[in-house]
């Protein structure tokens, strides 16, 4: 696992910033049975780059392989982003507000799926995904974000959103790091 601050925001760091936010450094982990919540961006959303979409798809595949639930959050009246690889039999929750939780049935679906944590990916990082991460923490879920499976319209907004959320609300890790932790969890529970 990389150092706490060794993610996309590393070029913004100053010694003062690191020291002030060191109060938030802690162990990062994922729980035994988290659900993956994919935040599908609104139609017409122009993200920088496309690599992150491949990572979203790969993370979804890995979590399905491990038998973990995958839930989709889409804007009302819109469809899942084709690049994310959603399956027809998976739950879709409509996101009427900024957060995937507020005024939607996501929390009920997580309860029914017996999820004890949430893994987040998708876009926009500084909008819907950030708001969802704050509420996920508020609902009491240990929450992880797959850094390299998030997109945004502006690089600075994405970096600072990930920085803020990593320190205050969620465990920011790469998709590979999350998959490794989940695989380790699965081995422990099988043993």
């Amino acid at each position: 696992m990389r150092d706490f601050e060794d993610y996309c925001w590393r070029d913004l760091l100053t010694p003062e910033m690191v020291q002030i936010y060191s109060a938030y450094h802690r162990e990062r982990t994922v729980r035994s049975h988290p659900a993956l919540v994919m935040i599908h961006p609104p139609a017409g959303f122009a993200a920088i780059g496309t690599e992150w979409c491949e990572t979203v798809r790969a993370l979804g595949e890995a979590m399905r392989q491990l038998g973990l639930p995958v839930i989709h959050s889409v804007r009302p009246g819109e469809r899942c982003d084709e690049r994310f690889g959603a399956r027809a039999d998976e739950v879709v929750c409509y996101r009427t507000t900024e957060s995937a939780f507020l005024l939607s049935d996501l929390e009920a679906h997580l309860t029914r799926a017996r999820a004890n944590g949430v893994v987040l990916c998708g876009a926009p990082m500084s909008g819907a995904l950030r708001a969802t991460a704050v509420e996920s923490k508020s609902f009491g879920y240990r929450t992880a974000i797959a850094e390299d499976a998030t997109g945004d319209e502006a690089s600075l907004l994405r970096k600072v959103a990930l920085f803020d959320v990593a320190h205050k609300y969620a465990d920011v890790l790469t998709a590979d790091e999350i998959i490794a932790l989940l695989t380790q969890n699965a081995k422990v529970s099988a043993a």
Partner: protein
């Protein structure tokens, strides 16, 4: 509901985010759609203005963090006079102020679960007391919360309906934390939202500026104190003319 849109006057001291703009951000600002102005009955939401964030006095955060880990130091103190002025203007215009504080009863927190993942905490729960200069006046509402947003698990929506508020002005802290998530949820519940930049602060300037810009781009209208007072005056005139 008002169909006026806000013109967003540039603050006298310029926009707080001017020195962080790059081409991507300038493009997003250029595409920003005008938002609704305040309606006829705005309300002020004052987020987390308790003694804890003023702890240690008006000094740099970095000098305070060992002894006063939750303090916003000089930024909190700089925002105090404008916030006092905003409250005085609101009271003179009969604009309701709803104060938001942390619910510090130990029995509401048996598992030591907190609104954020901060490790170092100030043990003294008595510091969750709204600062004297900003204390609720007789009859003003206080919301006690356990999570980042002022709306999460609180009766704030009901209070706003009872007050017949149709738009919100936000002050408080921290810009990237509780203040931000409260504004996002205020917008999510359908209220036009203004953020009074002079009364909003954080522990580090970059995070403060980026969250203010994000709020202005996506959910709210960021204004300075003078524009906020003008907007409350205009809302009163609008209500009286109707």
């Amino acid at each position: 509901m008002s169909d006026r849109t806000s013109e967003v006057p540039t603050p006298a001291g310029g926009w707080p985010w001017e020195d962080i703009l790059d081409d991507e951000l300038r493009l997003l600002l250029a595409k920003r759609q005008p938002r609704p102005s305040l309606g006829k009955r705005p309300a002020i939401i004052a987020v987390d203005l308790y003694d804890l964030v003023y702890d240690g006095g008006p000094r740099p955060v970095i000098e305070l963090m060992d002894k006063f880990p939750a303090s916003c130091g000089e930024y909190a103190w700089a925002a105090l006079p404008p916030t006092i002025k905003l409250f005085a203007t609101a009271r003179a215009l009969n604009v309701p102020i709803v104060h938001v504080n942390y619910d510090n009863r130990p029995e509401t927190d048996p598992a030591n679960i907190h609104p954020t993942n901060r490790k170092k905490r100030q043990a003294n729960l008595d510091l969750y007391k709204i600062k004297d200069e900003l204390a609720p006046a007789e009859g003003e509402l206080v919301v006690f919360k356990k999570r980042a947003s002022a709306f999460f698990g609180t009766p704030l929506c009901a209070f706003l309906n009872e007050l017949q508020a149709d738009s919100l002005l936000f002050v408080g802290e921290s810009t990237s934390g509780c203040l931000r998530s409260s504004v996002v949820e205020g917008w999510s519940y359908g209220y036009p939202c203004f953020v009074v930049a002079d009364g909003v602060y954080d522990r580090y300037l970059l995070n403060h500026k980026v969250s203010l810009l994000d709020l202005h781009l996506k959910y709210a209208t960021v204004v300075d104190l003078a524009s906020a007072c003008d907007a409350m005056q205009a809302a009163k005139a609008f209500a009286e003319a109707a």
